[in-house]
């Protein structure tokens, strides 16, 4: 009986084991940004998160996007390399293209639930500051931790979305500074404005450079009135975007996916 059970268990695990053996590691570095030790540690972390949530969490670095949109390139890369759990290919990828400093985040399956538009903007805030400082290892670790947190929240039925997005530590510091500054500046400006008005009340001797009071009623006559157009100028400025384009889109295979693109 024990032998039968062992054989059944072996057979059940065989396809997964065979798949795992064929599939590339969850961190793919075509440029060599990270050291071997960093790559190994990052891969270990991505594997642990992916297996725990059954949600493939992938990081990749490529030289360029070949003129494609970063999130589209990322999701195609994800699919072409055989990532994704189950028939919905549950999982997400953060891909960097170092030549143009592009990044693309994209996901399939459960990612559409776990990563709302507002949530994706929050996820960006977690890894983007590290990317901007070329601290790639920390950026990928922050991405991995973020995915772990996002998926866990979504599984509890509370995905990060408008209304429950926490502030990043940097934003908390900024909020404290702004609130502190406003608490000082607001009363200071108010006090100075009021005191200036009060101070001006003490001064009433001023030259009158006009003679409006002595204008003869009805004496003003316009004999010529010309308004000549000279030239016009149109100034065009690109509308502000938070970082990159984001939201739902379709991959090259036609699957529904979600993601964002941007520069770091």
């Amino acid at each position: 009986m024990k032998k039968i059970l062992f054989t059944a268990l072996f057979l059940a695990l065989l396809p997964f084991g065979a798949f795992a053996a064929e599939r590339p590691p969850r961190f793919i570095d075509e440029v060599g940004l990270l050291t071997e030790a960093q790559a190994s540690e990052l891969t270990r972390k991505l594997d642990e998160i992916s297996e725990r949530h059954r949600f493939d969490t992938v990081a990749a670095v490529v030289p360029s996007l070949d003129d494609r949109e970063a999130r589209l390139f990322a999701i195609d890369f994800f699919e072409e390399h055989g990532f994704g759990y189950g028939e919905n290919l549950d999982g997400a990828i953060l891909l960097l293209a170092v030549e143009e400093r592009d990044y693309g985040f994209a996901g399939y399956g459960f990612a559409l639930e776990a990563f709302t538009d507002a949530g994706q903007r929050y996820l960006e805030k977690l890894f983007l500051p590290h990317l901007r400082e070329d601290d790639y290892y920390e950026a990928f670790l922050a991405f991995a931790d973020g995915v772990d947190d996002f998926v866990a929240k979504a599984k509890r039925g509370e995905p990060y979305d408008v209304g429950n997005i926490p502030l990043t530590p940097g934003e908390v510091v900024t909020a404290r500074l702004i609130a502190g500054g406003a608490a000082i500046l607001l009363p200071l400006i108010t006090a100075l404005v009021i005191l200036t008005v009060w101070k001006r009340q003490l001064t009433s001797v001023r030259k009158d450079d006009f003679a409006r009071a002595y204008l003869r009623e009805g004496s003003m006559v316009l004999t010529s009135r010309r308004d000549d157009f000279l030239y016009s100028h149109v100034n065009r400025t690109r509308r502000a975007e938070t970082s990159g384009g984001g939201g739902s889109f379709r991959s090259s295979s036609g699957r529904s996916s979600t993601g964002r693109s941007g520069k770091y």
Partner: protein, 362 residues
């Protein structure tokens, strides 16, 4: 020097101009004398004038050269007291007997004013206006308000030149219309620039320019406007009981200031006809006075002076409209105290509140 005093026909007391009844009144027997009837009296008195200077036979020390240039000495007809004033002094009261005296020679011949605007408000009104002026001034030293030691209050007929002017103005402005719109990718801002020209005529009546060097021009412009439609032909009777000066800045010297005010007002008036633009910047103006006239007038001003911490503070009140002006001292201690109250305490409370709110939100 010719002096003119108005004696009460009833009791012989010195008459003064009463602002409440707008006539000469006797402060002793309360008789009111019609100013019109005194026109003839002016002439009669002037015909009986004594020589301008009196030789009192004093052979004491001599004035140094130039020392007397701007000084004039008068003798009071009532008590014989000697009144020393500057050469522009036209009316005053005798420091010995208090009689109102008018130096008619300062207002005769070509020096005779065309108009006088009689005082409408008296000394009490001036003091009341000063007290009202103090009200609501939170940074005024309390001692300044409370002590209220007015050193001098005097009603002065200030010499003014009144300029009538018709002017032609050519003004030019750079003006811009701004339109803003957006599409899905861009924000657009279109600025259309125009050159705007306005030409025309404009007229002013009786722009007053202070004709006295001893009174600050800014102070006099601050008590404006005067309603000059109420001015009457000059009579010395109106000066009784008040101080008066003859001009020592002539019409020609005053003309520049009048022209400047005409030009500024013309440019401002034509600017108001430039409408429909978001920005309008004057780039040129040419204002030419085509027709002008000038009259000499005495206008009523109450001057009130006080001292505080060694500084003189002078207030002036329009004797016709009651508009009172005058710069006052700042209490630096009060300023700092209010700054602490309005900034320090709220800032401390708000700082704590702000940090608590941020903590609750994170």
């Amino acid at each position: 020097m010719a002096l003119l005093e108005y004696k009460c026909p009833n009791c012989g007391g010195a008459l003064g101009f009463d602002t409440s009844v707008q006539e000469l009144a006797c402060p002793y027997c309360k008789s009111v004398v019609n100013t019109e009837t005194l026109r003839g009296l002016d002439d009669a008195l002037e015909q009986n004038q004594e020589p301008e200077s009196v030789d009192w036979g004093y052979t004491g020390g001599c004035w140094k050269e130039g020392e007397q240039d701007k000084m004039a000495v008068y003798s009071c007809k009532s008590c014989g007291g000697e009144i020393v004033g500057d050469e522009t002094l036209g009316a005053t009261s005798c420091p010995f007997c208090g009689n109102a005296v008018v130096m008619t020679s300062k207002f005769s011949g070509t020096l005779r004013p065309d108009l006088v605007l009689p005082f409408k408000l008296d000394k009490k009104a001036a003091v009341a206006a000063l007290h009202k002026h103090y009200l609501g001034k939170r940074l005024l030293p309390k001692v300044f308000k409370d002590q209220n030691h007015l050193e001098e209050i005097k009603g002065v007929y200030v010499p003014f030149w009144l300029f009538d002017a018709d002017a032609e103005a050519r003004t030019e402005y750079s003006a811009a219309k701004v339109r803003v719109w957006s599409d899905s990718r861009y924000n657009y801002r279109k600025v259309s620039t125009y050159r705007v020209r306005r030409e025309g005529g404009i007229g002013f009546d009786a722009i007053p320019v202070d004709g006295s060097k001893s009174i600050d021009d800014a102070l006099m412009e601050s008590v404006e406007p005067f309603r000059l439609g109420e001015a009457v032909p000059f009579q010395t009777a109106y000066l009784a009981g008040f101080f008066a000066n003859k001009y020592d800045v002539d019409a020609e010297q005053s003309m520049a200031r009048a022209t400047e005010r005409v030009a500024n007002s013309a440019v401002a008036a034509f600017r108001e006809t430039v409408t429909g633009y978001q920005t309008v910047t004057p780039i040129g103006a040419n204002v030419r006075v085509t027709k002008g006239g000038v009259r000499y007038a005495l206008l009523p001003v109450w001057l009130l002076s006080t001292r505080y911490e060694g500084e003189n503070y002078l207030f002036a009140m329009n004797g016709q409209t009651g508009k009172l002006v005058g710069d006052m001292p700042l209490d630096k201690g009060l300023y700092r105290a209010w700054l602490l109250k309005m900034f320090g305490i709220p800032a401390a409370v708000l700082s704590i509140l702000a940090q608590v709110i941020v903590s609750l939100l994170t």
